[in-house]
């Protein structure tokens, strides 16, 4: 027996997720260009872990394995998590974070479509709370430090925690622009002097600003192909822009400008790829505006006044909690029950 409608648009969850993965590629390519191929190692590691955990959980939950492995959603979680943590983080951290994201944050909530929290961000939160030291192993961009590891040396460090004799970790890694800013402001250095440091590149961070531009490009592709709507990126970036703008205008010596906040940290990744996860974000357009504006506010507050270097992950998780309530209070009026009619 079959039911109407008998025709459907040829689209699938798997194709949607694949397009999101493709949209991440410009950012990843620029990442490799500026920071070397270590990120590809963590992406591969996270992908394999995600697929393995997904298969195991599906088997334990007595669900069909192949259709769900092919839906690309686990891969997306893996990529987003890998892009959120330092490429030089030890291999087991990538594995633990990804396995936690897939097994606990996704499957214990009921699997695809049922997770209340963004799994990648749950994985990130677990890692940054459990292993804060290792979460600072950010690679310095090419040309920023005197000695750079070769790719085999990077592998040696990721998998065996071994560095070449002459090097210390501090000489090879570097705090992120957001982190550096925070530290130097604590030392009462003036903003202008801090931003003149070579790490800040053109406007938000040497290398990292270009990666963020890559994510922005991919995000525009997602918008153009109607995989995401404009509401979440616009409200998130808009709120960040307005808040950073106000503080910067009032006290430019202590608060970085809007452009810095847009292109530093995970703003672009969050605006287009993380906050827009359909499963854990609101389903109404007004709800999306509220949700993303809230996330923008929290991100700014955590970055500027909080203890963590970046705020996108926690802002996302905190706003995830509010989603059911936001959706309930932003139900659109149905046909014929709207106020204004001719």
């Amino acid at each position: 027996m079959f039911f109407s409608p008998l025709i459907s648009k040829s689209d699938s969850v798997s194709a949607i997720m694949l397009k999101v993965l493709l949209a991440l590629l410009p950012g990843i390519v620029l990442y490799v260009w500026y920071f070397g191929p270590a990120i590809l190692v963590s992406i591969t590691l996270a992908s394999l872990t995600a697929l393995g955990t997904e298969a195991l959980m599906l088997k334990l939950r007595d669900r069909p394995i192949m259709p769900f492995l092919k839906d690309n959603s686990a891969l997306l979680t893996a990529w987003l998590l890998a892009l959120s943590i330092p490429p030089l983080a030890p291999w087991w951290m990538v594995v633990v974070g990804t396995a936690f994201a897939i097994a606990i944050a996704k499957h214990l909530y009921g699997g695809l479509g049922n997770n209340m929290f963004n799994p990648a961000m749950v994985g990130y939160a677990v890692l940054i709370i459990s292993f804060p030291a290792q979460m600072t192993h950010w690679i310095a961009p090419h040309g920023m430090v005197i000695s750079e590891l070769t790719f085999p040396q990077q592998l040696d460090f990721i998998f065996h925690d071994v560095l070449p004799n002459s090097d210390t970790l501090d000489a090879l890694t570097m705090a992120t622009p957001l982190d550096t800013l925070k530290t130097h402001l604590h030392l009462d250095q003036p903003m202008r002097q801090i931003l003149d440091m070579p790490i800040y590149g053109r406007f938000a961070g040497h290398g990292s600003e270009m990666v963020a531009l890559g994510f922005l490009l991919g995000g525009l592709y997602l918008l153009a192909s109607r995989i995401i709507s404009w509401h979440i990126p616009a409200a998130f970036l808009g709120t960040l822009f307005v808040l950073a703008g106000i503080f910067h205008l009032v006290d430019p010596a202590h608060y970085a400008g809007p452009l810095f906040h847009w292109f530093a940290g995970a703003s672009m990744l969050g605006a287009f790829f993380i906050l827009t996860d359909p499963v854990s974000s609101p389903t109404t357009n007004n709800g999306r505006l509220i949700y993303a504006a809230g996330a923008g506010l929290l991100t700014y507050l955590i970055r500027v006044f909080g203890g963590f270097p970046d705020g996108v992950a926690f802002a996302t998780l905190l706003m995830n909690i509010c989603v059911p309530l936001i959706v309930l209070y932003t139900q659109p009026k149905v046909f014929g029950k709207k106020g204004s009619q001719p």
Binding site: M1, F3, S4, A15, P278
Partner: protein, 529 residues
């Protein structure tokens, strides 16, 4: 070739909608042909919304073309006629074109090939009252030919509503279906005259004829007919091609800006809407005295010769399929379009007034849907919903059997157009979930009504018993009072002996009353248990 917005009028927009491949050109290459007289007609007595018509022909009787064989039974009902002359050979339960696949009462008619008509009486509608014309339509079996088959006379009885706008629906938004398109191309003048008759009955000011802009020939033909007939305040309007733009509420919205909410009649807002083919049938009924005996049907899909035919009501679908030349890999037949149609339980079922299109289906044309995946709340369904619903939430509630919440989230505003299912990347048969939830809610409401009725009956019975008891007691008391009064009136002083007797009598009476009282109470206990 879209016509573009060359209308003088401002058009309105409704939320959502989809653009499925139209697949209409296949069946519009040839003109409407008349299907040959079949060897047997099976005419269902329930072809319309409402009550089944009462059979008024006898088995074995010779009937003439256009003779009444089913009398409207009840307010919401319509007449059924013999589609040709011949002999009624059976009136019994047969399989009909209904999604349920259940049989219904049908008259079997063996045509004699004479096509001998009952006397037909053409009338000038302007000489009649709207009420009289409504009755004529009811007896001519005129029902809405857009799909719902609602008796047209009822849509014309307005009780005190003032109608400003008559909307004629020529949108025909479902893919594959072209019967209205071809009718408008070939018989525009009759449609327009029918519209004039409907306007007269409604006393409506303006007539707006909405046609989707993917039918330029129909639009041109209708515009020419309106101009040639010199019809004032009647306008043919090209509307954007978007499914489900042919839904009555959607078309009314596009043409007038008015949104008619679920459970509200468009007449409350001064608008009434008829399908173009219905207008054509109204014209046949008044100007030619012909009841509804045939309609235009599209045969398309997996056939050699897709085309539109004028077919007698009661013709087995198999005859139409044979005319189209169904290809060998055809595996089923759809009545209606691919968005809202349903597979026929058998190709032998008869064609009814609501049959606008038959699509021969094969795995190639309508491939089986891919496996269902979980909902990822992407809200593509909400983006295309013409009723501004949140289909992903309704699906969730229906799936978890939270019917109360489904209702609170406006489940009954869903028009089951299927746009949500069409775009769902998880291939969830959403409309099926909504139909399921609706039928469960209806069943529960039905059960509740029965329980309420039973409770009311029970309460009434209790009251009655109590009242009767009270009346009996009152009567007894009155009688005793009267007896006492009579005794006093006797005025004779009683002897001590008599007084003693009297007292004894009183005590025993009280005792009997007590016994009776306790018996009644006991009985009460019995009923309440």
């Amino acid at each position: 070739m879209p016509v573009g917005n060359d209308n003088m009028r401002k058009l309105y927009h409704f939320h959502g909608g989809i653009h499925p491949p139209s697949n209409k050109t296949q069946s519009t290459r040839a003109t409407i042909a008349r299907a040959p007289l079949p060897a047997k007609l099976v005419i269902p007595l329930h072809q319309h919304a409402g009550e089944t018509a009462k059979p008024v022909a006898r088995v074995g009787e010779r009937v003439l073309k256009g003779q009444l064989i089913g009398m409207p039974d009840g307010i919401v009902s319509s007449a059924v006629h013999a589609s040709t002359s011949g002999t009624i050979t059976a009136i019994d339960m047969q399989l009909i074109a209904h999604p349920s696949g259940l049989p219904n009462l049908c008259a079997t008619l063996i045509p004699d090939g004479e096509e001998e008509w009952v006397p037909r009486k053409a009338i000038d509608y302007r000489d009649h009252s709207p009420a009289g014309l409504q009755h004529l339509l009811r007896m001519a079996g005129v029902v809405g030919l857009g799909g719902a088959a609602f008796p047209s006379d009822l849509k014309l009885s307005l009780d005190r509503h003032k109608i400003t706008t008559l909307v004629l629906n020529g949108a025909e938004c479902e893919p594959y279906i072209t019967c209205d398109d071809m009718l408008m191309r070939e018989r525009a003048a009759e449609i327009v005259q029918g519209a004039e008759m409907l306007r007269f009955m409604l006393d409506a000011e303006e007539v707006l004829i909405g046609i989707e802009d993917n039918k330029p020939e129909a639009i041109a033909s209708m515009r020419a007919a309106v101009a040639a007939g010199g019809h004032r305040r009647m306008e043919v309007i090209a509307v954007p091609t978007v499914y489900p733009g042919g839904g009555a509420k959607q078309l009314i919205r596009v043409l007038t800006g008015i949104e008619v909410a679920a459970g509200v009649r468009s007449t409350d807002k001064g608008v009434q809407c008829f399908n173009v083919a219905t207008a054509y049938t109204v014209h046949r009924a008044f100007a030619h005295g012909e009841p509804l005996l045939s309609r235009i049907v599209t045969i398309t899909g997996n056939v050699l010769h897709p085309r539109n035919y004028e077919v007698l009501i009661g013709t087995p679908i198999a005859e139409l399929v044979a005319l189209g030349g169904a290809l060998p890999d055809t595996d089923s037949y759809i009545m209606g379009g691919p968005m809202m149609g349903f597979p026929l339980p058998s190709v032998q079922v008869p064609l009814v007034k609501a049959t606008n299109c038959i699509i021969a289906s094969s795995k190639k044309i309508f491939p089986p849907p891919p496996p269902v995946m979980p909902c990822i709340r992407c809200t593509r369904c909400a983006d295309v919903c013409p009723a501004d619903l949140q289909p992903q939430d309704l699906f969730w509630f229906a799936q978890s059997r939270e019917f109360g919440r489904a209702q609170a989230f406006n489940l009954f505003d869903c028009i089951e157009c299927g746009a949500c299912s069409y775009v769902c990347p998880s291939h969830i048969p959403l409309v099926q979930y909504y139909r399921f939830a609706k039928s469960e809610i209806h069943a529960r409401e039905h059960d509740k009504q029965l329980a309420d009725k039973a409770r009311v009956r029970h309460d009434y019975r209790e009251q009655r018993i109590e009242r009767e008891k009270q009346e009996k007691a009152d009567k007894l008391a009155a009688r005793e009072k009267a007896a006492q009064a009579a005794r006093l009136a006797g005025a004779q002083p009683l002897t001590a002996q008599q007084q003693a007797e009297q007292a004894e009598l009183e005590t025993s009476r009280a005792h009997i009353r007590e016994l009776a009282q306790s018996a009644v109470e006991h009985a009460d206990e019995g009923t309440t248990k």
